[in-house]
Symmetry: C2
Subunit: 840 residues, 2 copies
């Protein structure tokens, strides 16, 4: 009785515990003693309902080769993905190495850190500047030629040139993206965000991706597609950081010895965070906003030190961009002029607004929030449809892009004809009509001294359109119908354009749409509000951004930096807050939705309520593959060949210790290095310290870059004699792995796993008499889909997000709907999955 | 041989392991079985060199009563402090409670969170506004009266009035601070920062502290002492948040049922972070800067969700402040005028600066960094001297404040006489001389049509002085000698004024000093730089702030928000970066220095290098007090009475389990609640679920506020019969405590402890045959001083901060110097410390 009576406290909540467990089909005679048949506590009894592989929602591809990794859509292709490891790996070899480092090395490491940030900032600012220069000139030439044709009344030729120019650029962008680097598709923010959370998607930070991202973004934006350059710039910045931190490309034989201390996931993560901050800073010339965006939206782990480094990188970008623009003031930059780089300075005068203006602002925020969440919803639907098309092959991808380009060209050229011409104002602030690239009074088809207000917005680059919309004292220059048409066309064009196979951002389309929405509201209110329509445009952009992106602080700062008016701060804060709150009632932030749809296993900070009801033992699966402290080479080779696991517990067994004791955990990469360097012994004895001399710390450093350069077990050739030798794993085993007891609640284990950025979390038994390790938890084991797949009754019992909803049945339904899709899909999946679980 | 040969890998690094351990003098016969005599691995053998209690550097007081807590200087008094606990306590009772919560409760919790932020924002903005209003009017009246006397050439009377006014205000401020709430002394930022790191100093968030902080700050600032109001505003904001989150004061019988879910350290911490953001936002009318300051400087744990909530609070402050100023525009606010609230808008025009201007800016940054670190150094020295004076009693504290006030009055009134009068410019932008409170042309003793430039700076409120310094196109209005005198007097006055017993901030003095330093440099450069002196003042303020405070992003945003000119961004970023880098080579940020000197045990994120060389077993101490799963009431009462420990491991022993098994950890507060509610059983059997009905979740909620309202063991009266009964601790024990294996490296354990915000970390044995728990690690065990005290050879072997220094021998020396003080001091400390370690 005394023993049994406490079980309710520990195991009440998970009723079903099946005792049967699936046995692995490994040859037991080879290394029986190392295959600890730990209770596979929760494996469902019947073999055909294996715990499912996590799959992207968007895809329905079935030809998955790598059975030990998860898969996700990266860019447009389905790829296997791995986890990153932010734990400091403390084995005897590394400790020896750290101790041997002098002040010079530490100084070198510190200097490298800052130098890399400087280099990243420099490269990103150059790219950002060139990007703007190229877009302004490419799109500028196009508009100048077309306008000249229009002046000569040769409208059909104008349309043809416009059409061919756009189609050509889009075709080029989509071709290089689809053929050279499909990972460069889209904004890249979801992929980078997932990377910073610890998900390593292959190919997102390679040289081809970087080039395609830059060139593709320039051509795609110049082709008048309604897509932005901010997202691609963030990806570009991250990519530059990853490549610079890697010290060149090993594939191309370019490596740099100075960066040897930098080859680990932690430092790479920090540098990539700085890189994405620099990217955002360069895109909008908003350094503080860029830093905040990187920290608020991108990074999963923050530190004050990182904030400072990101700030430094962004400052370099800001200073260099200013210097470049100084150079351009002399007029050497072609059509770049002195504007360029978005509409910084557009709104520098002081605007009066008072307490009475708050109700319209409130309404603006509410509707903006609803529109933003609607935008997210529609965009997801469209992406799902596009995914079916993209899946059919490269030709279809490119065709889709071309169709969107043709459609956009027709719309942009056609719509201005719908509105009537307006006479120029008596005392225009700039020449009317403007026959150049920028300006508020586009002539289009109109007679002299008249202008087409819709063409001023639509037949322009996005940056110029935003500048026109944000301008004050232009309340009478646009007609309501024009603005409404512009708003609607932007709204739908941006939804349809994002999914094309080309680098494409969402920021600028959302700002354009939001600004036009704001003007529409301003016009509807008319004389009921004393605010001018330019301010309405700014607030509309803020509300739509808040409704779609949901970052608040960074958006606020970015908008302030764009408009250069700090007096707008309180009111922009209010709009953002309202629209985010409203939109959060409907769905998640657009990047999170896309990331989820792509199947990237993003780990949230908070534990779902049902995770508190489960223990670690309820999700950990077996059987577990472990190594002995001194292991036979043959066994190591066999396990590495037959599994894709990445971490293996090392256990000391009698006679090495009195009872089986967990010594630590060893990584696949390190085992491969040991095998490659052939640090073998003929008898199972402890290695002497001489073994350290065989290795340099660089041998064990985690290489960045593509998986192609990484060591593989297949590359290692061993003789029969070597196969019968032994390796002492102790000096290379992380002797301080983080552990949890199997009765630990899953929620608390998740907190530990997430906060410390782990890849493997060892589960040790509660009762000491059993084997020293029960299993390993990986990122996968904390995914809600995985847990709910193991414990289906939780799906019904707990409204997954009830913690956040607070009585919003609509949201609950949506979540349940999503889950049912996922669970059903997995049931009829005929993918052959190995019964053991990948340690990612 | 096979057994022994692995020891080098696990225990190589700490050579000395003493086997003797100090035994506790507890009556063993009472509960021998629960006193697990775990190996006190590293207790030095001789009893008189007990591991020392951490003590504040500033104090030399020896009358410490509470021997189970650490002590620190809070405000000006030495107080015992405790740790906070951010772990989610998962016992069966709480789980039951969570499960029983419906949507309504969750909604209530969410709504409360936001509502509290709203209320905090509202109250803080009202306080901030009233504070400004009061200061402007109090100081304004003083200056108006004095100026009128001066106009009548009655200089002695003018001085007398000025002198008496200042002395009276200072006396009042220091008296209420010293007598009512000594915790309100100083800026309060170090205390709040320590609180947010998990250090609970008593009395920092009480109603008297709040009132003294507000009133004291107003009077002290009005008394012309060179102290700021930003620091006190941050403390005020935090205090408001703490009091609001507490749901009124239990002491005064004001509690609010709605806040029941809010009574835990986590939610309180988040709200206080928001409160300090609001405080900073209100002080400078810089909402984004306030949020960033709270996150960069104050908070130890960040989340995106918290960022958003802090932003909301700051937005409320910004909006309401704007509304209040709208009200004041009609002129009802006396001398408040339309300026008030610091110099927002002072610098709104566009300033040209180019690449060639960078060298002077670079020099400015370097010297600013050196000056800033010198400021920190001198301030620390002065504070140490003041601490000796303050220690002598209230009279001395108040006297010190009066002396400083007299000295300041004499200086402020005397210095302007040193400079000669200057003729008014031919076409002044404002009346010259200005005979009111603000304005750039103070008449002082001068003839009509002349003004005294030094008086314009010195004989003014600090806000006005900053406004004058920041103004552009005033290059010719100040003389070099005046500016130099002003700079020097500000530099030393701010050092001598901060330590007085009154609420005093550092931000404003540092800005004033930095701005005058910037102007001095600008004047020295003369025609060699095209930048105007107002810009030099802004940059000088930035460099001095960067050199002293060392926060970068938030300072940058605050300065931008103060000057309302985003175009300054790149150059301010550069200055801040340079000055911070330079200053970091010399010493730490001023708040950290003060916090360290006060003895607040702040836990850093990073592990010191030597921590990687130690294992957890090397610092954990015993013997350990544990409870049985079903424990006799008498034993519980005895242990609670004889120790001050806060967490006790609960161990199931035979016959309840086969072998001793760690069940979890139980808190002192929860034990007290169990004793108070008398949930006893007559026989040692498991409790039924009925026991839950005796309690509500509120009984176990952690109360905020002063320790006076907390339950104490002395308050609980039990009969002899009750003493012999039993309690089943299982349902109330946290069954998911975080654990580390004793061979875990100390550095990694620190990471775990710090990232998860723990108060207790259980250490479990490596070899399963021993007792199930080796010891408990608390905040104290991770303090460098404690570890270095246990392992003195580390002090010599490892330059403590070598990781950060990169070959800066000066820093190393400084650190060693500091340590030697600390260690020596402890050696001759005759404080009676209990041999067991407090679980804080």
């Amino acid at each position: 009785m005394p023993l049994g009576c406490y079980l309710p406290y520990t195991r009440t909540l998970v009723g079903v515990k099946l005792s049967s467990f699936t046995l692995h089909s490994l040859p037991f005679n080879t290394f029986t003693s190392h295959l600890v048949p730990a209770m596979s506590t929760n494996q469902p009894g019947n073999g055909d309902s294996e715990t499912p592989l996590r799959q992207p929602l968007l895809s329905s591809q079935r030809s998955i080769v790598n059975s030990t990794s998860q898969v996700a859509i990266v860019g447009v292709n389905v790829c296997p993905i791995e986890s990153l490891d932010y734990e400091i790996f403390e084995n005897e070899f590394f400790k020896q190495d750290w101790r041997s480092r002098g002040t010079a090395q530490i100084f070198q490491y510190l200097l490298t850190k800052w130098l890399l940030c400087f280099v990243v900032g420099m490269i990103v600012s150059i790219i950002g500047f060139c990007n703007n220069l190229a877009v302004e000139n490419l799109a500028g030439i196009k508009f100048v030629i077309t306008s000249n044709m229009m002046l000569e009344k040769r409208f059909q030729l104008a349309f043809f040139i416009f059409f061919v120019f756009n189609l050509g650029l889009t075709l080029f962008a989509s071709l290089i993206t689809a053929l050279i680097a499909p990972t460069a598709t889209g904004s890249g923010i979801p992929e980078v965000k997932a990377y910073l959370n610890g998900v390593d998607a292959p190919g997102i930070f390679t040289v081809p991706t970087l080039f395609v991202k830059i060139i593709g973004s320039i051509t795609a934006v110049s082709s008048s597609l309604l897509i932005g350059k901010a997202g691609p710039m963030v990806h570009t910045g991250a990519c530059v950081a990853a490549l610079v931190g890697q010290g060149g490309s090993k594939r191309y034989g370019l490596t740099w010895k100075w960066l040897q201390f930098f080859k680990n996931d932690r430092d790479r993560r920090d540098l990539i965070t700085c890189g994405s901050a620099a990217g955002m800073a360069a895109a909008f010339r908003a350094p503080v906003g860029g830093v905040l965006f990187a920290l608020e939206e991108m990074a999963s782990w923050w530190r004050s030190a990182l904030l400072w480094r990101a700030f430094f990188t962004a400052a370099i970008v800001a200073i260099l961009l200013r210097a470049f623009i100084d150079l351009c003031l002399s007029g050497k930059c072609g059509l770049f002029g002195k504007g360029g780089l978005i509409m910084f300075d557009a709104y520098s005068a002081s605007i009066p607004y008072h307490f009475v203006d708050l109700p319209p602002v409130f309404i603006l925020g509410v509707i903006g929030g609803i529109l933003g969440s609607l935008f997210n919803l529609l965009l997801t639907k469209v992406l799902r449809i596009y995914s079916f098309i993209n899946e059919k092959g490269t030709v279809f991808k490119v065709l889709l892009a071309c169709v969107i380009s043709i459609f956009t060209s027709c719309l942009l050229f056609g719509l201005p004809w719908l509105t009537s011409c307006r006479p120029c104002p008596p005392n225009p602030t700039e020449p009317c009509p403007t026959i150049g690239r920028s300006g508020i009074y586009k002539k289009f088809q109109c007679a002299p001294n008249q202008y087409n207000d819709l063409a001023s917005l639509i037949f322009n680059t996005n940056d110029d359109a935003i500048r026109n919309l944000f301008s004050k004292n232009t309340d009478d220059e646009f007609e309501f119908t024009s603005m409404l048409i512009f708003f609607l066309s932007c709204f739908f064009l941006s939804i349809f354009s994002y999914g094309v196979v080309a680098p494409a951002g969402l920021f600028v389309p959302v700002i354009v749409t939001g600004a036009s929405y704001g003007r529409v509201v301003g016009m509807l209110l008319g004389k009921n509000s004393s605010l001018n329509h330019g301010l309405f445009a700014v607030l509309g952009a803020a509300s739509f951004l808040g409704g779609s992106m949901r970052t608040t602080v960074s958006l606020c700062v970015i908008i302030l930096e764009l408009t250069n008016n700090l007096l707008l701060l309180p009111v922009i804060m209010m709009v953002l807050f309202i629209s985010k709150t409203v939109a959060d009632a409907f769905n998640a932030n657009i990047y999170d939705i896309i990331m989820k749809a792509k199947g990237l296993p993003y780990l949230e900070t908070h534990a779902e309520p049902y995770m508190r009801q489960l223990t670690v033992g309820d999700v950990v699966t077996g059987p577990l593959l472990t190594f002995n402290g001194i292991e036979k080479v043959r066994n190591i080779v066999f396990i590495l060949k037959t599994t894709g696991h990445n971490g293996f517990p090392v256990i000391d067994e009698p006679p090495i210790s009195e009872a089986p004791v967990l010594f630590g955990i060893i990584l696949r990469d390190h085992l491969l290095t040991l095998l490659k360097k052939k640090a073998f012994m003929s008898s199972p004895l402890a290695a002497s310290f001489d073994v350290f001399n065989k290795f340099s710390s660089d041998d064990f450093a985690k290489k960045g870059g593509s998986s192609k350069v990484r060591l593989k077990i297949e590359d290692i050739q061993l003789s029969e004699e070597e196969m019968n030798m032994f390796i002492d794993l102790h000096p290379f085993t992380n002797a301080s792995p983080y552990t949890v007891v199997e009765t630990m609640s899953l929620g608390k284990a998740l907190t530990l796993f997430r906060e410390l950025g782990l890849r493997h979390l060892l589960v040790i038994p509660k009762i000491s008499s059993r084997s020293p390790v029960v299993g390993i938890l990986t990122r996968h084991d904390f995914m809600p889909e995985h847990i709910l797949g193991l414990h289906p009754f939780l799906v019904r019992n707990t409204g997954k997000r009830s913690r956040f909803m607070g009585g919003c049945p609509k949201n609950l339904k949506l979540m349940e709907f999503d889950h049912s899709i996922m669970l059903e899909k997995k049931k009829d999946d005929d993918v052959a999955v190995e019964p053991t679980y990948p340690y990612l």
